[in-house]
């Protein structure tokens, strides 16, 4: 589904990604871990097409299409979803209206008729149950005055509504207490099918107690330096990142 080859990117003139290689198949959950500043969030942003990030090399094939050549909105319409680490506030626009615009633009891209108000509301109700989100939240201005937990739940709700093929969760666990974390993770798990895939970008292991990854990759200094099963995450939790850092630094010095 997703094939990242030797992906390199700069932010403000500084090389952040220095050659990422990653293969993701439908039905898989990949965790990307790593110390602060290793390039995890940059990878998420580059895949989504944020303008400030300059791609300097490599390719990203998504269902056979070169993702890097698509506009951010077309990537979304093709089925790439980014759950933001810091969801943006849009005053005066309710989540409902925002999602109606989003869902219908995606449908238009796929050559489908826009949803009428009733069908849209029915789908919304169904998805609300799935991710345990309260209707009152959806009537408020998007993310305005939301708590950290509410913002992240809203992201997962949007994901439920848009039904992406590939969801990238960027530090979705940050700022969540344990209850909120469980609700968010449950939402993600319920949305999981054999046809979609998830990339979980996280600093800590704890989210992976709830969203069980098939593969864990450690990103350090702009490269994936170690890949393994979910046991790798536990090992990192136990030992921290220092042993990986020293391993990498030794090998680069040698």
């Amino acid at each position: 589904m997703l094939s990242i080859k030797d992906l390199k990117a700069k932010v403000e003139g500084k090389d952040i990604l220095k050659g990422i290689n990653l293969e993701i198949k439908p039905g898989e959950v990949h965790a990307i871990m790593g110390p602060n500043g290793s390039g995890k969030s940059t990878l998420a942003s580059v895949l989504a097409g944020r303008e400030q990030y300059e791609v300097t090399g490599g390719s990203v094939l998504f269902d056979g299409k070169e993702l890097l050549e698509l506009s951010p909105e077309d990537r979304a319409r093709e089925g790439v979803f980014l759950a933001f680490q810091y969801p943006v506030e849009i005053p005066g626009v309710t989540t409902t209206n925002f999602l109606k615009a989003a869902v219908n633009q995606v449908r238009q891209y796929k050559g489908l008729e826009p949803l009428d108000a009733v069908s849209f509301l029915n789908i919304m109700k169904e998805k609300m149950k799935l991710v345990e989100i309260d209707q009152s939240l959806l009537k408020r201005s998007l993310n305005e005055g939301f708590s950290g937990g509410e913002k992240k739940r809203n992201e997962i709700f949007q994901m439920a509504m848009l039904e992406p093929k590939l969801a990238i969760l960027d530090e979705t666990d940050s700022g969540l207490d344990i209850d909120a974390l469980r609700i968010v993770a449950n939402g993600v798990n319920k949305l999981k099918t054999k046809d979609n895939a998830v990339i979980v970008v996280t600093h800590y292991q704890r989210l992976l107690d709830y969203i069980i990854p098939d593969f864990v990759h450690v990103l350090y200094k702009g490269r994936i330096v170690k890949s393994g099963s979910k046991e790798l995450a536990l090992e990192l939790e136990e030992k921290g990142y220092d042993w990986i850092k020293s391993e990498v630094n030794e090998s680069t010095e040698a």
Binding site: P72, E73, V88, Q105
Partner: protein, 477 residues
Amino acid sequence: MKILEELTTSEYKYGFESKFETDEAPKGLSEDIVRFISRKKNEPEWMLEWRLKAYRHWLTLKEPHWPNVSYPVIDYQDIIYYSAPKQKKVLNSLDEVDPELRETFKKLGISLEEQKRLTGVAVDAVIDSISVKTTFKDKLAELGIIFCSMSEAVQEHPELVKKYIGSVVPQTDNFFSALNSAVFSDGSFCYIPQGVRCPMELSTYFRINAAGTGQFERTLIIAEAGSYVSYLEGCTAPMRDENQLHAAVVELVAMENAEIKYSTVQNWYPGDKNGKGGIYNFVTKRGICMGDNSKISWTQVETGSSITWKYPSVILKGNNSIGEFYSVAVTNNMQQADTGTKMIHIGKNTKSRIVSKGISAGKSHNSYRGLVHVMKRADNARNYSQCDSLLMGDRCGAHTFPYITVENNSATVEHEATTSKIGEDQIFYCNQRGIDTEEAVALIVNGYCKEVLNQLPMEFAVEAQKLLAISLEGSVG
């Protein structure tokens, strides 16, 4: 902000000209022209005298230049002051309306049939200077409501016109109101009798038509004690190369316990992206809360005109009276707007609320100018003002000129102002959900204006939202 830099324009969507035979006055302004207009309209002597008084006063005035706008010198002798579509007979049904006129309405998406059928709105359509068709008049008449053209009111209800015209905006008020008083061609007249709640939104669509014709509308609305009326004014104008002067006067009178809600969507031709053409919209709008517990509420969505210069105001004379002003003013390309309100607190416990949302794009300039004046006897007067500016790109300007004069210590006056930009983060967030940049801007702008749009009657709010999106099309790269 690279994404916001590439500012272009969208073509004015309502740029077409319908061909009517017109009945025009020669160019220029003189006592003879004033007499010509009055004679054309078969007016009584007192109306002519009233016009002449205005004209003579106008001669002593100089065009004001204090607004934060600039434009070439207007040659008042180069303007045609009277032009009317020829009306051969009185029309009884919509079928008799000039097909070309009906076509015009269709292009605007506001055909009379549709208006009637879908919205239940009575439409007094003004093409250039003469009202062509008024609907629902009979139904309104049953309730004693008078809703007709100003010319008709002068003929049919001279006592009311004589009593109220100029009572809120005197002929001598300012340069443009004096000009309007001398040469006004037509407009709407509304009278709601005591205790009557007008059962439908009253609406007038104005259009400027004949080339080079300044249009001078005059509207007068009187709400007797305990009555209620909601009035909608909407404008679109055909594309033009030369500038057109539009100097309207609107007067509202609310008696005891009466309420007037006046909503405007203004979409005159704004000129092309280099600032060529477009309407000069120099308007005097004022209402008086004459009686206790009365209320006047102005809501405006201003997207058109090359220059907008208007301050819908409320004189809060009655005790416990309420004045409101909700405004969205959009300027794009080379447009200039200097708009706001005046709230004059005279009575006790009077309240006013001002919510102004300015949106500037392109190389435009958008100014809020407002006065809150609490007079000596206005015990416990309260005002709340909120003036927000939204900037798109970095070549436009937003300015705020709040004036506050308080002569009574018991007054509470609050003023809040913010300036913000549409963030790249907001746009990217929308993009990431599959929403393209144009739609994202429309969404964000409509959200920003929501408080004002919510004040509009439903069918108008929808139109206004579309208009905001159209006005800002292409303003973000």
